[in-house]
Amino acid sequence: MSATTSAWLVLLCPLVGSVVIALGFRRFPGRASGWLGTAVITLSFAFAVVTLVKLLGYGPAHRQFVSTLWKYDFTAGVDAKVQILVDPLSVFMILAVSGVSALIHLYSVAYMTSDRGYTRYFSYLNFFVFSMLLLVLAGNFIILIVGWAFVGFASYVLISFWYRRRTATRAGIKAFVINVVGDVGLVLATFVLFQHTHSVDYLKVFHAAHHVFGHNSPALVVACLLLGVAAFAKSAQIPLHTWLPDAMEGPTPVSALIHAATMVTAGVYLIARMHPLFDQAPTAGDVTAIGGCLTLLIAATIALVMVDIKRVIAYSTMSQIGYMIMGVSVGAYSAGMFHLMTHAFFKALLFMAAGSLISAMAGSQSLDRMGGFRKAMPFTFVCFLVGGLALTGLPPFSGWLSKDDILAFLDHRGGGFIALGIAGYVGAFMTALYTFRMIFRAFFGEPVREARSLEEGHLAHADVPTNPATGEEEDTDVGFPGPEHHIAERDMPMKVAMAALAVLALIGGVLQIPGVDRSIERFLEPTFADSVLSREVPSTSTDWVGLAIGAAIAILGIAIAYRIWFAAPDTAPNLRRRFAPIYTLFVNKWYFDELIDLLIVRPTLMLGRLGDSVLERIVVARGVTGGTESAVRAGSAAVRRSQTGFLRYYAAGMVLFLAAVTLYFLVSST
C-alpha cells in the first residue's frame, strides 16, 4: 500500500461510518452505533499511522505526494480534481485529528448513552471528522473549499444537536452564518490567486506565486488577508469569534471535538499550509499575528470572569488558538503546529473532565454552584488538574514546551515582535489565573450537595431537566440530552479516553524539547523548507530562557489564583467591587455581540424590513403583479358588459357585422 492509498483510506473510513450509521438509524441496538463510529475513526487513525510510516520510508526531500482520484471537471481553465496532497504537514494533521477524534468518540459512547439521538449523533460526528480530514488532506483549493464548507455544516448540525432548545438552534445558526463569512473569504482568495496564477492546485499556485507576485504585492496581500478572514472565522478569532462561546450549547464531547481536533485548528492549518504566500506577503502575516495577539488577550480576560465552566474553557480555546495564529503568522510554523497538537490533547481532556463534572451536577454548568468535588470525583479531578497544568504551561507538561516555543520564536525575531511576545506572556499569566480559578472553585472548598451525595454513592439527578442557559424546563423525549448522567468514575469508555489524553497531555511535549529532541520540527521541515522565516530558528539557549520565563509566569499565576480563590475567598468579590467598570466590560464579553449587532445585524434587518415594506409591498405587490392584475380585471369588466344575455342583440350584432363585411368587399372589389 502506498502512502497515498492509505491516505485515501483515512478519508474513506469516517465517510463510510457516517453513511452506514445513518442508514442503520433505529436498527442499531444499544451502543452499537457508538462502537461502530469509534471503530471507523480508530481504523482511520491506524491508516494515518500507516501513511506516516510509508512517508518516513522516503528521503526528507521526497516526502510529497499528490494523488488524483478522478478529474471532476475542466472548465474555463479551472482544473477541478478530486485530489489530495500527502506531505508531512497534512500527515501531521490527520494523525492529530483522527487520533484525538477517536478518543472523543470513545468518550461519547458512554457519555451520550441515554440520549434519544444516539445514532444520529454518531453519524454527524463521523461526518465531522471526515470533513476535517478532507480539509487537511485537500490537494487543491476546490477540495479545500468543499472540506471547509462541510466542516461548517457539520458544526451547525452538532451545535444545534438538541434541536428543541431555542438557544441551541440559535447558536447553530450563528456558528453557520459566521462560518459562511469565512467561506466567502476563502472563495474570494481562491479567485484572486486563480486570476494571477491560473491554477487552483496548491503546488502550482505556490510555484507560480514566486514569479507572478512581487514581495508584498497588493494582490497577494489582499489574497492573504482574505485567507486570514477565512482562518479567523473558522478559528474564532476577533472579530469573528462570537460563535465559539455560543457553540457550548452542543453536547460536551462535541465541544471537545470542535475545540481540540476538528474545527478551530483549521484556521491555523490554513495559514501554515499557505505559508509560501504569507512568506511573500509579510504585511498580511503581521495583520493576522496582531489579530491573534488581540484575541489571546481579550479572550483570556473574558475567561477570567465567566461563570459557565464550559464557556471558560471555550474562551481559553480562543486564547490558545490566538497563540497558534500568532505563531504561524510570524513564521514559527513547527512551534505553532506543535502547540496545535498539545492543545488538542489537553483541551479535549479538559472538556471531557468538565463533561463528567457537569454530569455529576445533573447538567448544571455554573461554577457558582460547584465546589468540593475533589474527594467525590478523584479521577475527574486528576484529569482536570493535568489538563489545567498543561494549559497553564507548568513544567514538565506539554503546554509548557509548546506555548513557550512560540513565544521564544517571537523574542528571537526581535523588533515589534517582542511586543507580541510580551503580550503572549501576559496572556499566559491570565491563563494560569482562570485555569486555577476553575480548579479551585469546582474541586476545592466546601462540597456542595451533589458532591456530598456522590461521596455517598448517589449520582445526583435533576428532578426536572432544565436548560442551563435559560432555566426553561425541557422534555427528554426527543432533541434533548437524555435523563441519565454518566461520569468518568463509573463508565469505562470515558475513563479510558480521559486516561489516554491525560498521559498524552503530560508527556506529549517530549516530541520537541529544545536542545534535546526536535522531532516535530525535523518531521515538518520538508514542508516548510522553502520558507525564509522557518530558517530563523531561535538558539537553544534563547529557547530555554523563554521556557524559564514561561514556567515562572505560570507558577506566579497559580500562586495568585491560590491566594484569590482559595486562601482568601473574599478577594474576588472585593476586586469585583473595586474594578466594577472593568468587570462589567469583561463579563459582557467586551460588548462584541452588541457591536456586531449594532454594525451588521441591525442595518441588515433594517434593510430587510425596508425591502419588505417598500420593495415587496409597493413596487412588486402594487406595481408589477398588482398592475398586471388590475389591467386584466378592468379589461374583463369592459368585455363582460357587452354580454347582456339578450339573444336578439347578439343576432343583430352578427347580422350587422356580416353586412359590414359584405359591403366592404363589394365596395373594395369595384
Binding site: V639, R640, R641, S642, Q643, T644, G645, F646, L647, R648, A651, A652, V655
Partner: protein
C-alpha cells in the same frame, strides 16, 4: 340566362328571414325565420350552379338542407324542454346567461 331575378328574390327572402329573427320574440317563429334565411341562401346557390352549369352549388344546397333539418330538430327540442319547465316562450325573458 339572367341571374339577377333569382338573386333579388333570394336576397328578399334572406332579408325577410333576418328581419324576422331580429324582431320576433317567439323562438318558434325565430326558427322559422332562420329556415327562410337558409332557403334564401339555397336559392342563390342553386341559381349560381345553374348559371355555371356545375354541380357543386346544388350539392351545397343539399348539405345546407341537412344542416337545417338538424338545427330544427335541436331547436324544437330546446323549445319543448323550455315549455315543459314552464318557462316563458320568449327569448327576451330567457336572459340569465349574461356577464
Amino acid at each position: 340566362m339572367w341571374i339577377g331575378g333569382y338573386l333579388v328574390v333570394s336576397a328578399l327572402i334572406f332579408s325577410i328571414g333576418a328581419a324576422g329573427v331580429l324582431v320576433r320574440r317567439n323562438p318558434l317563429v325565430i326558427l322559422l325565420c332562420l329556415e327562410l334565411m337558409l332557403n334564401g341562401a339555397n336559392l342563390a346557390l342553386v341559381a349560381f350552379a345553374r348559371m355555371w352549369g356545375g354541380a357543386s352549388g346544388q350539392i351545397f344546397a343539399l348539405i345546407v338542407m341537412v344542416v337545417a333539418a338538424c338545427e330544427v330538430t335541436v331547436g324544437l327540442g330546446l323549445i319543448v324542454a323550455i315549455h315543459r319547465r314552464r318557462l316563458p316562450i320568449d327569448v327576451d325573458e330567457l336572459r340569465e346567461l349574461q356577464g
